[in-house]
């Protein structure tokens, strides 16, 4: 669109009174120029296709201390407490500055992977009591994939 076209449109705009659709279009163009989706984010979203896993059961977030707990006045650096549930399997997770601590319930050994995106996974093992730890906190979105018995359970993706 050249400048002349633009001026014609604006003259119409003034004569005919308010044209919300035109102004919304101008905003749409401005957003596409000044605040577009960062290219690296689009790539990550395209790559995220590999995260679809129709065979795993999803453990849904049923408790999140950010939303569900009453804040303690004056307490700082309280760990984030999360509970995920898939059927009878529950996964409790505590996120601190040191890492993740968690337990699979009912207590059982499990092979666990900490997923942090389409590309990477860090393996862990839960002991006979179902307890597991990592030595670093997640730096972005994460999910846990658990293999226990014959079953695969993946926790809902969450931002730590």
């Amino acid at each position: 669109m050249n400048d002349d076209d633009m001026n014609d449109e604006l003259e119409e705009f003034d004569e005919d009174g308010f044209d919300g659709a035109l102004l919304e279009e101008e905003l749409r163009r401005a957003a596409a120029i000044l605040d577009p989706v960062p290219a690296e984010l689009s790539r990550i979203a395209v790559d995220a296709y590999v995260l679809h896993d129709l065979d795993a059961r999803i453990a849904e977030l049923t408790f999140d201390s950010v939303v569900d707990a009453i804040p303690v006045r004056g307490a700082t650096d309280v760990p984030r407490m999360l509970t995920f549930r898939a059927g009878e399997v529950t996964v409790d997770v505590e996120v601190t500055g040191q890492g993740l601590m968690g337990q699979v319930l009912p207590p059982q050994p499990a092979r666990i992977e900490v997923l942090s995106g389409p590309q990477s996974a860090a393996p862990l093992t839960a002991d006979a009591m179902g307890r597991f730890t990592t030595d670093a906190p997640p730096t972005g979105p994460f999910a846990l994939r658990l293999r226990t018995g014959g079953e695969v359970v993946v926790t809902e993706w969450l931002r730590a």
Partner: protein, 212 residues
């Protein structure tokens, strides 16, 4: 149905719709194809709905780092739930609603950790340079560039409610009112009147500055 806005066909030839805008009617079919293993269908979903997710996150004025993480969380979760989404043709609303909830959660945890900090102050325009933006820097386009920047500045200075609504409405392609409702938690029926009021307010600001 949308009321009071031009159909998308009216601006199909403009550069910002180039490449990958998804016709909303196809979303359900694309979700089904992606479930069946079609990676190209997934890519088309990302290209068509990514700007909506980004708009919702930006409407909540998260810092760049938080915005990036919420955006990723939303897409990872969408991939994870693919095949389990009850109404595949409303995937846009699913994404918008998830983006809203995750954004609100970030704001809530920020308030809890640093009660005196205003996360909204951290907001700024993305530093990623698009081909369109580079073009704007050329001398011939300086006037055009100035128009766009003034428009953006006035938009940024609107009240929270209008700024939020318009930020979601201006995603590409234009979102349905169901998607806007999911993105902001406001009733579909109130979007039209609110939109009109907010656009008028913006128009008045621009007129007062003699801009555009």
């Amino acid at each position: 149905m949308r009321v009071g806005t031009a159909p998308s066909a009216a601006y199909d030839d403009l550069p910002y719709t180039r490449g990958g805008a998804v016709d909303r009617a196809d979303v359900g079919a694309l979700v089904q194809s992606a479930v069946d293993g079609d990676a190209a269908a997934w890519k088309a979903l990302v290209e068509g709905l990514s700007p909506l997710v980004w708009s919702v996150v930006r409407a909540h004025r998260l810092s760049d780092a938080d915005a990036h993480e919420v955006y990723q969380t939303v897409w990872f979760r969408f991939a994870q739930h693919l095949g389990r989404i009850r109404e595949p043709d409303k995937a846009g609303s699913w994404l918008a609603s998830t983006a809203r909830h995750e954004s609100l959660k970030v704001l809530k945890s920020l308030r809890r950790l640093t009660p005196t900090d205003d996360p909204q102050l951290l907001d700024r325009v993305s530093e990623d340079r698009t081909p369109e933006e580079s073009l704007l820097d050329s001398e011939e386009a300086a006037a055009q560039s100035e128009r766009v920047r003034r428009l953006w500045q006035e938009f940024e200075e609107l009240g929270d409610r209008c700024r939020q609504l318009l930020r979601v409405l201006m995603s590409t392609p234009p979102p349905s009112y169901q998607e806007v409702s999911a993105a902001l938690g406001i009733a579909v029926g109130s979007i039209g009147p609110l939109r009109q009021r907010c656009l008028r307010r913006l128009r008045a600001r621009l007129d007062a500055r003699g801009a555009l």
